[in-house]
Symmetry: C2
Subunit: 420 residues, 2 copies
């Protein structure tokens, strides 16, 4: 991995993979929905859409067609803590991709008419998400844990926040937050680091991100303590065929030393077909098609949860089984065999993912943006290997002995959950 | 690519990718839902689930945990014409993956209790699918085109067909259809062909697939003409937030020489952000988040369609815009610039996909199973390059001048569509 910091504070990280013919490029901005005030709820994601709508040099059609004409793909996504704009192209087209994507992110116009059109697109995206109850339940769960605070809100915003948001509000958000020290440009593939740095500098020239030495950027207000609610049940009534359920609680942050033990625990509990939850709920009883556990980590907080989709009439039974498995792992811990399997899953999936240039680009960027350094593959594997049964059992007790919250999307009313 | 045909008729195809540390393995069986009689509707998919439930050598938990313990992934899927069981592992674990997956596919017990449990899982999978209206509408569209014939039915079966299906029916289906000449085992990654052949032979030894010289397998009844309906409107009423719409018609089969021109047409019409439909419906008017065209090909038939998800009140407008774009491309054809872009997309995405061992394994297997030979990358790119504007325009007229069918999932009743 090679890294260059421009005078502006913008960071460029690359990894050469000479055996590939492709290159993956990402522009990662350390800004997401948790950086929004209530009146700007959804601004990060709205802005992500708008950056594809035209610059001083290119129309929206030119942005997409220049990359698609050479068979490349480009897209973007917004999370609670960062926003990523990316492209994957043949290696010979990397300079084109840098030119287009840097232009789009650095120098968008946010033309008023485009803002109005894109508002409609985002309202449709929100509606589409509401037609995907197996996804929506995870947002309901975040609300159950964090309530009406930045980590508890929808990344997309809501119709109520998106409808009145003005072009000027979004533009101020853009220019205030999209500053060079908040940005990491990452590339992986058949490339040369110095060449990538030259491409980036050339593409940045004359844009608002082509600034002098980094001003002391206002750090994110992570000193504010994250608010979490007391354990709560939240139900969204929808006339779905299945009940979509998440049971869980507050987890750990991204820098917590227990994250390796939690990774192993998650694999044993609900990380694959051989996991306890899959075996008990699907394999032995046929109560669900999809059942799994997961952990999400933020800078200073996180959640852990178990998802299941099941027949509404079986929800109580499925929930009892999930509670029983959480109680069992809290009380009795995992076995040495499960430790080995959980580690094997963690290490194998990590190494298998390294073959993809897009995954490697993401790994570089997230390490730089979220951790401030890159852990080598060997070091990461060693950290997984060092996890003990006792550490896994301790994190299970830490996280699952607390009162748990329940999120449900399905054909239920609030009162019906009291018996569960 | 190397190929070995065992005396039984089972084919083994491999591709060595020495630059990778992984291996992808697939067992592809040329049997899918179109091979089912009405009383066996959903049997291929039910069987796919059951083959992970235990063999003479392994329990269900052993099947999944042996591969997951080394960090590998294994899964399966069923289509209308074939079923695929696959695993992705580190190269050193390929022999383990072959041993487990061949055992599962060749020598499953179909234990009666497991059949009952898995019936519940499949009913939940069907229910889950009904909670995904953006997917479901494609099944509704297939019904609009093919009616109640094999290609028009759900791959999963329905609660009405799955509930009464017996273990013995499924077992007969298994033993009748899972015969050596119907099976292609494909692997791509850091491997040696002869070693893979030895692994497969060893894993097959003593199983029902370890047969003598191929008996003349009954070929699929593709001599029966595929039935298509007259253009029809089919509505499934659901209280969704969006209307999920597919408009389209009968397409072309997998061996049709026009498939390269159709690929270019599809890219120009609705294959990316620079496509006509994306530009007209999303970029200019903000009426949809997701809008795209697609083409599915079967041995002797196919479909072409356009999907859009939009506000129910805007459905008429969106549908008019889709019809207008189809009429425009039928009447005026595409431009030389669009031809270049459509070809670039086709070639670039094809080449970019080749980097993934899983994609390469699939390409090998499908070429062998569905085409009977492997077109080289260069030949395929040359075929795309040879496509002319006239060929694209001709296939547009062939496919979109016909009366088109409409499938809708949304808050509508059948009568409401008459005006559209």
């Amino acid at each position: 991995m090679k890294k260059t910091v421009l005078p502006s504070g913008l960071r460029i990280v690359t990894e050469a993979i000479p055996t590939t013919r492709s290159a993956a490029l990402g522009i990662w901005v350390g800004i997401g929905s948790r950086d929004e005030t209530p009146s700007l709820h959804g601004a990060s994601h709205f802005l992500e859409h708008l950056l594809f709508k035209g610059t001083h040099k290119r129309t929206a059609l030119e942005i997409s067609s220049e990359i698609e004409a050479v068979g490349g793909e480009t897209n973007a996504f917004t999370t609670k803590e960062y926003t990523c704009y990316y492209a994957r192209v043949l290696d010979a087209d990397l300079s084109l991709a840098v030119d287009v994507l840097v232009d789009a992110v650095a120098d968008s116009i946010l033309e008023p008419a485009a803002v109005e059109t894109e508002r409609g697109v985002i309202l449709e995206e929100i509606a589409m998400h509401e037609d995907e109850p197996g996804d929506e339940v995870h947002d309901v769960f975040a609300e159950a844990i964090y309530g009406d605070s930045p980590l508890g809100r929808l990344i997309s915003g809501t119709p109520e926040s998106i409808t009145p948001m003005t072009r000027d509000q979004i533009n101020r958000f853009y220019r205030r937050h999209y500053r060079a020290p908040e940005i990491v440009i990452a590339a992986a593939g058949n490339l040369d680091h110095s060449a990538v740095v030259r491409m980036v500098r050339k593409a940045l020239a004359g844009t608002p991100l082509d600034t002098g030495p980094a001003d002391s950027a206002a750090p994110r207000a992570t000193d504010k303590r994250v608010r979490t609610r007391k354990a709560a049940n939240v139900v969204v009534h929808r006339d779905t065929e299945q009940a979509h359920i998440v049971l869980g609680g507050v987890g750990i942050g991204r820098h917590d030393e227990r994250r390796f033990a939690l990774g192993v625990l998650n694999n044993v509990l609900g990380g694959g077909m051989s996991s306890r939850l899959f075996q008990e709920i699907r394999e032995k009883r046929g109560l669900a098609y999809s059942v799994y556990s997961y952990a999400s980590q933020y800078a200073d907080s996180g959640v852990v949860g178990v998802y299941a989709g099941c027949a509404p009439a079986k929800s109580g039974e499925v929930l009892s089984l999930i509670r029983a498995e959480l109680a069992r792992v809290t009380a009795d811990g995992i076995t040495p065999e499960e430790l080995i399997r959980g580690k094997g899953m963690a290490k194998g999936s990590y190494v298998l993912n390294l073959e993809d240039s897009g995954s490697r680009m993401s790994r570089l960027a997230k390490s730089e943006l979220l951790h401030g350094d890159l852990m080598s593959v060997d070091e990461l594997l060693a950290r997984v290997d060092a996890v003990t049964v006792d550490e896994v059992n301790a994190v299970a007790r830490d996280l699952f002995a607390q009162p748990l919250s329940l999120a449900v999307v399905g054909p239920f009313d609030e009162g019906e959950l009291n018996d569960w």
